[in-house]
């Protein structure tokens, strides 16, 4: 299993951000900024206080920031809402085992995996 684990880790480290890094794309779009600012404030002040335990990697707030940055405002927002519905113990049993990071035990779920085109 060690080779597979290393393979998954290599695949993951190509795109995945480091933990606890706030991904803030410098943008002057005011609509995006309206969303980025609360998410930034949540990550900076709230998340650390409530010991948030998201089931996924990247966490839901990071996923939101990344998806809005990568896919645009509407698609990103919808995808974040969909992610929030999935981030609970009820929806977890259907996770494919190759998507689970064996070190952290979290499910790898990045915005890049939800593109319409290959």
């Amino acid at each position: 299993m060690s080779l597979i684990k290393t393979h998954i880790e290599n695949e993951k480290t190509k795109n995945a951000p480091q933990k606890r890094v706030i991904h803030m794309r410098v943008s002057f779009n005011p609509v995006k900024m309206i969303l980025f600012v609360p998410l930034y404030l949540y990550q900076k002040f709230v998340s650390e206080q409530v010991s948030a335990v998201c089931e996924f990697e990247p966490s839901c707030s990071n996923f939101g920031l990344q998806s809005i940055g990568q896919l645009g405002f509407i698609k990103g927002l919808f995808l974040t809402a969909d992610r929030l519905t999935r981030c609970n113990g009820e929806a977890q049993p259907e996770t494919k085992y190759y998507l689970i990071d064996h070190q952290s035990g979290k499910v790898i779920d990045e915005p890049g995996m939800y593109k319409i085109k290959d």
């Binding site: 299993m1 060690s2 597979i4 919808f78 995808l79 974040t80 319409i116």
Partner: protein, 279 residues
């Protein structure tokens, strides 16, 4: 001859006899010792042994290839992939291995994603009746490179596992994104149910119903101009739309997930194969 001299002679003879009886022979059973290392799964010792053998047989290319392969295998079992890869690279492009050794070699090449080398190794045997492991490796490389496998591989010459993989690769799931979105718009969660995600569908349904009920309640109590309805209605709209969009992209993601699953199973198959060579 006095008595002391006789005693001395007897003791000297006894010492020589005991040396002759109980000392080890000068010849060493090298092959037997390596078999013991393999049987006991002593991986660092195997690496050290093979390194020592490399010094002794540095001129023979065939032996050198086998020794590099052994070292690469030991490193792979230890999980040190860099060293495994570097030793695998030192094996000559077309090594004259036996079938079981070739099986190990092909497994390591596939796990290391060296598909070109795998293909060039298998090209040596074109037009021949190949063993099952060679056909398995050829098919695995085609699947991992996302090449079509319809006509060129005979199913009877594959292992049962690869036969199953081939059928699954050739028949990926076809889900319509439009239908998934349409079903989700009709009943929240139904699109995900159509895609086969029962728990996610239930979760989406419960959350949408709860938010929808809140929005409806605030509409009937406070009217559509109230702040309460605007907040709950927006939240409901966001999650309702998110569920539809999520179902559409999940339908597209299904095929990619299917291929990823197959890739994982192939790697797992070869990884298990090289692990089982320890005993």
């Amino acid at each position: 001859m006095n008595r002391g001299c006789i005693k001395l002679r007897i003791s000297v003879i006894l010492i020589f006899v005991s040396f002759a009886c109980f000392s080890q022979s000068t010849s060493f059973d090298t092959a037997g010792f390596y078999k013991h290392l393999v049987a006991e799964n002593l991986l660092p010792e195997q690496i050290a042994f093979n390194r020592q053998m490399q010094k002794m047989y540095s001129g023979d290319r065939t032996i050198a290839d086998s020794l590099f392969l052994n070292i690469s295998l030991a490193y792979a079992k230890l999980g040190i992939t860099d060293s495994s890869t570097s030793n695998l690279n030192k094996v000559s492009p077309k090594p004259p291995f036996s079938v079981p050794t070739s099986n190990t070699y092909l497994s390591l090449l596939i796990l290391d994603k060296k598909y070109d080398r795998t293909n060039s190794f298998l090209d040596n045997y074109t037009g021949q009746q190949l063993p099952v492991c060679y056909n398995d490796a050829a098919l695995s490389v085609k699947i991992l490179e996302r090449k079509p496998t319809m006509q060129d591989t005979n199913t009877s010459s594959l292992s049962p596992f690869m036969r199953d993989i081939k059928i699954r690769y050739e028949h990926p799931p076809h889900y319509s994104g439009f239908l998934a979105g349409f079903y989700s718009a009709l009943i929240p969660g139904m699109g995900k149910l159509y895609l086969g995600y029962k728990e996610e569908a239930l979760s989406a349904f419960i959350e949408n119903v709860a938010l929808g009920a809140q929005a409806a309640e605030s509409y009937y109590r406070a009217g559509y101009k109230s702040a309460r309805f605007i907040i709950t209605g927006s939240l409901f709209g966001l999650f309702y739309g998110g569920n539809i969009w999520g179902s559409i992209v999940l339908a597209k993601k299904q095929k990619r997930d299917h291929l990823k699953q197959i890739d994982y199973e192939i790697f797992n198959y070869y990884n298990t194969g090289i692990s089982s060579t320890a005993k």
